[in-house]
């Protein structure tokens, strides 16, 4: 679903990341699918590129879980579905962000050697 700079990433490692990115993007403004994909690509400076079509099942699942809400708006004669975060989605974002920060910090510590640095060649 997500790839990091054109390299395949272990999907298990990316568990929850699409949700996190989408909730974060939609936290302050509503967007439609195409905008979301472009925003992820742009704001991550193309480090994270999303399989464009597969963003929709993630959006629909979040909406099913009431983390997102959607509304149809006609812009320049084209009907688009805009998504925005609900209060439940904001709570979920906070949880996911906390988990991800902890995980990233732990991995960073491991990479730097941390407590057992001398044991790592």
């Amino acid at each position: 679903m997500l790839s990091m700079a054109s390299r395949e990433t272990n999907p298990n490692f990316m568990n929850g990341v699409p949700e996190l990115l989408i909730l974060r993007l939609l936290q302050h403004e509503e967007m439609y699918g195409y905008e979301i994909v472009q925003a992820i690509r742009g704001r991550s400076e193309a480090v994270i590129t999303i399989g464009e079509g597969v963003v929709y099942p993630v959006l629909h699942a979040l909406e099913n879980d009431r983390a997102l809400k959607s509304r149809r708006i006609t812009v320049n004669g084209r009907s688009r579905i805009y998504y925005s975060v609900t209060p439940a989605g904001a709570r979920r974002l906070a949880d996911l962000a906390q988990n991800w920060t902890n995980l990233a910090a732990a991995i960073q510590t491991m990479l730097k050697g941390g407590k057992y640095a001398e044991a790592i060649p």
């Binding site: 195409y34 399989g51 079509g53 929709y56 099942p57 629909h60 699942a61």
Partner: protein, 237 residues
Amino acid sequence: MPKPFHELRERLLQAGVAPRHVRRYLSELADHLTDLTAEEEQAGCDRADAESAAFVRLGSMDNLARAMTEKRQFQSWCSRAPWACFGLAPLFVLVSAWCFALFILWSGWRIFLPETETPFVPIHGLAIFYFGVGKLTYFTAPLLIGWGIGIIAARQRLKVMWPAFGITVIALIGGTAQIHAGRVSGGAEHVGMRFALEPSLQGSILNCLTLLLLSILPYLLWRVLKARSFGRSATCA
């Protein structure tokens, strides 16, 4: 709808994804494809190249299908619990329709025929309409439910087993059902139903078979037409 989306729709439906989720997914994918094509054209590609590039960026058919099918929440109830959708639900609807028909018979008897021993006597005026509603409900319910099962099965591209089971059960019940009505001691009106291969075994079997054929025929015709059109498109490809 572009051909890859047509194939994707068939794959998703056959995998048990609910039609409303499929419809919305494909609609958003089509919009996304239009945006991608426009972006590629603005970047200098001609129309054909822009469309090809847009399809590549959208994702492979396998990935697009897997993204939906791996999420259980998008599965239809017919796929999750076919025994409930094609066994219990049709029975519940049939029982409800027949309860309504029996109520019409019982109430019509009390209103229009308070003096008669049975409601099955010649009637006139408004009574014809009133009892007609009950009769229509009673006789058409099994057939309409059978057609409903066929439509649901066709929409969701289900295998023939569960719809055939549901239609057969409804036909058996519909073909053997009988209404009886009479006054009980004290003069109160009593209406009820029973299921029996009476008054003649051959007649009941004929009823069941007729109902089964009428119910399942549209669904079988749809399957034949679908198989033919699939064969034709495979030959063209």
